[in-house]
Each structure stands twice: as C-alpha cells, then as structure tokens.
C-alpha cells in the first residue's frame, strides 16, 4: 500500500485510543517515516520493516491496555487488556500473571452461570408439575373427594419441598457470588501491586 494508505489504515485501527494518544502515535510514525525516507530508505523498505498497520496497531493497543489496567485496575479494563493481548502473537513481558487468573475466574463464572440456568429450568419444570397436580386434584375432588384431597395433600408437600429447595439455591448462589467477587477483588489488588 502507499504511505498515505498505511497512515490512514493505522489511524483507523487506533480509534480505541483517545484523540490525544492517537495523535501522538500517528505523529511518531509520521516523523519516523519522514526520517527513514530522509536517510535514503525507499517506502517499500520502510513498509517491510514496520509491518502491516495491524501489526503496528496491535502492539500499541496491548501496551496501552497494560498502562490502563495499571492506572485504573478494574474488571472491564482487565478484560479489554485480555482481548488486546489475544490479538498479539506473543505475550508482552509486562503482562501480570493475574490476567491468566482472571481468565480462570471468568471461566468459573460462566460455569456457575450455566449450572444456575440448568437449575432454574429444573425448578420451572417442577413448578409446572405441581400446578398441573393442583388442577387435577381440584377437578378430582368433585368426583371422588378422598382421592382429590389426597392429591391435594401430595401437592402441598411437594410445594413445600420446592420452596425449601428454592431457598437453598438462592443462598448457595449468594455464597458463590460472594466468593467470586472476593477473588476478583484480590486479582485487582494483585494487579495493582504486580506491575512495576
């Protein structure tokens, strides 16, 4: 591509940065190319040694995200860093180990969430079964009261059990959330300390 196309492609790929940072980066490469050309290099050679605008931008992005996590360690910044790093071919040395732990936490959250969804589906099915049992019990009472009342009794016991199970699940989910949020806080603190 031409020099103008290169710079324009690079600019587009740097839109994740704020304006001042983006302009600094573009100014740097603009000057760099000028100085390289002044020293006698052809644009072809310069382009070959710089790499593609994607390569150039990916390196800038990863480093940018690292400084963001250091300045403001938050879950969202850490995830953005993780995504930027995934775009590189090799890990920057300043990458904190905590990022790898973050991946583990995210995986745990996903698993916990899937289990929760499965449990909720089970509960919905149980509620549906109890409701239909109630309906059959009520319709049976008219024709055979004894059987109908018996069914009603079973239904009430099931409903009671279901409420207990439901309560237990809510407490369990709460406990899991507390553990996960403590882990995340610890990760963020270790990121704060980890990078020099």
């Amino acid at each position: 591509m031409t020099r103008e196309e290169f710079m324009s492609a690079l600019e587009k790929k740097l839109y994740f940065m704020n304006k001042s940072e983006r302009e600094k980066a573009l100014d740097f490469y603009h000057e760099y190319i000028e100085d390289a050309a002044s020293s006698g290099k052809s644009w072809d050679d310069i382009e070959k040694s710089l790499g593609t605008p994607s390569d150039v931008a990916a390196k800038i992005k990863a480093d940018y995200r690292i400084t963001q996590v250091n300045e403001k360690p938050s879950l969202s910044n850490s995830i953005k860093l993780l995504i930027a790093v995934l775009g590189l071919c090799s890990l920057p040395i300043t990458l904190p180990i905590a990022i790898i732990l973050l991946v583990a936490v995210v995986v745990m959250i996903v698993i916990a969430f899937s289990i929760l969804v499965a449990i909720i589906s089970g509960l919905i099915a149980a509620v549906a079964a109890i409701v239909s049992l109630f309906i059959s019990a009520v319709t049976t009472i008219a024709s055979s009261p004894g059987l109908g009342l018996g069914m009603l009794g079973v239904m009430l016991i099931s409903a009671g059990l279901l409420i207990l199970v439901f309560y237990g699940i809510i407490r369990l989910t709460g406990a899991i959330l507390i553990v996960v949020s403590k882990l995340i806080k610890r990760l963020i603190e270790s990121m704060r300390k980890g990078d020099k």
């Binding site: 600094k24 980066a25 100014d27 740097f28 490469y29 000057e31 760099y32 000028e34 100085d35 390289a36 002044s38 020293s39 040694s49 710089l50 790499g51 390569d55 150039v56 390196k59 800038i60 990863a62 480093d63 940018y64 690292i66 400084t67 090799s90 890990l91 920057p92 040395i93 300043t94």
Partner: protein, 106 residues
C-alpha cells in the same frame, strides 16, 4: 534470544540509549536495532510507556522545516537505569560462571 528476555531488556536498552543523548524516534530505533533483533514497531509502545511512567520526557525541535520530537531521560529514569544496571551486574556473575572455561583468561 529468548523473546521474554529480549522484551525485558528492551526497556533498559531504551533508557540506556536515551541517557547517552537525547534521541528522536527513528534514531533510537536504529540504535537499538544495532544491538538487539527486534521489530521496528516495538519501539513506540516502549517509549510511550516509559514516558507515562515518568522515566522519559519529550520536547520538539525544528528540523529541516518540520517538527521532530526528542526524548530525554528524567532523574527517575536515571535511577531506574541504575537499578537495572545493578541487576545486570549480578546477572553477569551468573553468566560468567555458566560460560566458565570458554571466557576464562587464566
């Protein structure tokens, strides 16, 4: 060279280069390329980060009718370079030991 080792040394190399004299982007890239095999697009992120950390500072000068940005080292940067040099001295002892008979003069 092992890539992680290389990247760790790159920061110190940049500080060492800037401590010798103020540099501009293309110049320092060529200087570092003389002593380390890196991709030329690796320099800008390092320079930017070192500036953000307060180890480098910048100013612009006119050159042939256009502006050029120069990097210079700060007192904090010199301190950081000093610490790195001490660590490398220790490393040197280990390296000399490993190289053993190969490098011995006696």
């Amino acid at each position: 060279m092992d890539i992680q080792l290389k990247k760790g040394l790159l920061n110190t190399c940049v500080l060492a280069a800037v401590s010798k004299s103020d540099v501009y982007g293309y110049q320092i890239t060529q200087d570092i390329l003389n002593v380390m095999e890196i991709s030329e697009s690796s320099l800008y992120p390092v320079l930017r980060r070192l500036e953000k950390q307060g180890y480098l500072t910048t100013y612009t000068r006119e050159y042939s009718g256009r502006l050029r940005k120069y990097y210079s080292i700060t007192p904090e940067g010199l301190k950081k370079l000093d610490e790195a040099r001490k660590e490398l001295d220790e490393l040197k002892k280990t390296v000399d030991f490993i190289m053993g008979g190969k490098n011995n003069d006696a």
